[in-house]
Amino acid sequence: MIQGTASRNRPVYLDANATEPLRPAAREAILAGLEQTGNPASVHAAGRTARIMLEEARRQIATAFGREADSCVFTSGGTEADTLALHGFARVEGRPVLMGATEHDAIRKAAPDAGIIPVDGQGVIDCAALEDMLATQTVPPLVCIMAANNETGVYAPLREVAALCRHHGAFLHVDAVQAAGRMWKQDAFSLALKDGSLAGASLALSAHKMGGPKGAGALLLPEDRPLPPLLPGGGQERGRRGGTPALASHMGMAAALEESRKQDWKLLEALRDELETVMIQAGAIIMGRDGARLPNTVSAVLPGVAAQMQLMALDIEGYCVSAGSACSSGKVSRSHVLEAMGQEEAAGQAIRVSLPWNVAAEDVKAFGQAYMLMAQRFAERGVLKRASS
């Protein structure tokens, strides 16, 4: 039906926040890791070689965030890193939990009774509300804030949040899954790292959101400190996470992170901004546009058109984008992120376009065209509501 949107690459992958394409350097590192027979815990020569490679990956990752190597606990991914932080700092050490209203399910589902810190209409944490909540806590809590939101790309005001937490003796855990592999020096996350705001915070990382492999991640602790494990196992990771580490995957993670820091994110941001202009012309409303955002993320509402319809229409034309959160069955549900931003109606009508690190400019253009044609058809069918201006 939609014609003239032919693009060189099919399908066109624009769902980087779900998972980034593998970076070539990560692929090489993984292959090198797979060649290693030794278990890093073994005392013999093969084990020692594996150990050195694992520790090099650990050092690389920790250093990128200004930490000592042994503060890095390798995990199976971001969800495990978040769950481990909540398990150790909240459940075992007895802190109540406060979390941002737009946190990922990795945090939300691990602490269902947490106090919810509201966000404003742009998705930014309400620091005044956080301060009030902190002031009324009798026990210093664990505060969980995501560095950048997976759906809107909106950064949290981490410096302010960290200062409030320090002031009230609260422990801060930052889900940095989306932000960590997209640091461009002047972003809110990098700045908070650089000025030491996050020195006392733990950070959750995920390899595949950086262009590394799926199934690897890390929890960066403020320093080398003990942490009650979720998986005691054989006492690996200094007793903080049992099980043989996924050497190849963690090597891939380190390589991906290093590559991500060399990327010119400004180029991607320019492509993203151009695309948003086209989408707005087509009738879209961009969520969180007034705040500081990840350079690659668009959260676009097409008024009146169910997100699912947009996903299907675009997928049929060969474009991979996403909406809200997809459950395991593939059913598209409403976005709790947009609901928290006060966008009740829009929460079922938003799609997320997230440009991958290797996106081709012509693919972004072609997508803009396809989006435009889709919006036109929905308008013709009487589904799309045009904003009255």
Binding site: Q308, M309, D315, R381
Partner: protein
């Protein structure tokens, strides 16, 4: 053409999708998620959670996109709630008709149009025939699997857009052979036949849970109000049934049947079957929410009518009335259940139908 296939995850709709794909159409698969599947899946019903996965696997293997459509709230309102409401009025609803009418042939069909599809296909056993005066609905070739009674409420506009490739299949073996030829796993799948959302075996239990005001025992009385026995709950009874009447048959000396359900007094009213089925005053049935698949003839139409899902035709004359209603004059007396469908046939062709009024 671009065609959306409503896939349940079962053999039939999988065969439809594969067949259309093989014919060179641009197939888009869609499976409706009608309720939460976190509970145990019910084998043999059409919409269990694993069926969604099965549909996905079929789409992936054959090579066309497949989507899961969240229709939970709409299904709850338009099918499950109205199912319970009908029982609470003393009627016997047909939820499959409500589902086909609303969730499938309105919502999903509109979705297909929105996606630029030129048609929507399902795995139903019914034939769509291009007649001289437009599109017609006919019984399928394989009479054992006839679903036309459940599809009578399909409008002519919907029918125009719909395709039912299985309507032409000679028999089940043929479909199975096709499934095998297309590489679809059929041996392990049962046919669906029950009410899909009743997951613990008892529709009455579900209705009573949803409408607790009608739960509980009551009297079984004759037409004069004499108490003949007790019953377990009105949701377990349908007008016309003779089962579940305990020893009343022997007590009264003749076979009894339910003639009415009185909700406020929670009474089941019975009468002698022999007398009722020959009662000449019981030859008129009124219908609501008529769907005509022909231009409704003011003078009425002589045709066969089917008053239940599994029973034969009765000869009748059906006349349209104001307000989308109709009056059915049966040749022989009958005791149809309010809420059930009365579907009109002329030969193989479905002429229309409506819901039986109390």
């Amino acid at each position: 053409m671009r065609i959306l296939v409503a896939m349940s995850g079962g053999v039939d709709s999988s065969v439809v999708a594969a067949l259309l794909k093989r014919q060179g159409h641009e197939v888009i698969g869609a499976t409706l998620q009608l309720y939460d599947h976190s509970g145990p899946a019910k084998p043999g019903a059409c919409c269990a959670g694993r069926d969604i996965m099965d549909a996905r696997m079929v789409a992936e293997r054959i090579g066309f996109p497949h989507y899961v459509i969240d229709a939970e709230s709409r299904f709850r309102e338009s099918v499950i709630e109205s199912f319970a409401d009908a029982y609470a009025r003393g009627e016997t609803p047909v939820p499959c008709v409500a589902c086909n009418q609303g969730v499938k042939f309105t919502d999903l069909l509109n979705m297909a149009r929105d996606l630029g599809c030129e048609a929507m296909a399902t795995g139903h056993y019914v034939r769509r025939v291009e007649g001289p005066d437009g599109v017609e609905m006919h019984r399928p070739v394989d009479r054992d699997r006839d679903q036309s009674w459940f599809l009578f409420a399909t409008t002519r506009e919907q029918l125009e857009f719909l395709r039912f490739p299985l309507g032409e299949m000679p028999d089940k073996a043929h479909v199975r052979a096709l499934a095998e030829e297309l590489g679809l796993d059929v041996a392990t799948k049962r046919d669906s036949q029950d009410i899909c959302f009743v997951t613990n075996g008892s529709y009455a239990g579900l209705v009573e849970k949803m409408r607790p005001e009608i739960e509980g025992p009551g009297d079984i009385v004759d037409e004069k109000g004499n108490v003949l026995g007790r019953h377990e709950g009105i949701a377990r009874y349908t007008v016309g049934q003779s089962r579940r009447l305990g020893d009343i048959h022997t007590g009264t000396g003749e076979r009894q049947m339910v003639t009415a359900i009185d909700v406020p007094s929670r009474r089941i009213i019975v009468g002698p079957r022999q007398k009722l089925t020959s009662d000449e005053s019981r030859r008129t049935v009124r219908l609501r929410d008529m769907n005509w698949l022909i231009d409704a003839p003011a003078e009425g139409v002589r045709c066969g009518v089917q008053l239940r899902a599994r029973e034969g035709l009765r000869q009748a004359i059906v006349r349209p009335l104001e307000g989308n209603r109709a009056e059915v004059q049966l040749e022989e007396p009958a005791l149809p259940a309010p809420g059930q469908a009365c579907v009109m046939y002329e030969g193989d062709r479905v002429l229309g139908g409506g819901f039986i009024l109390a």
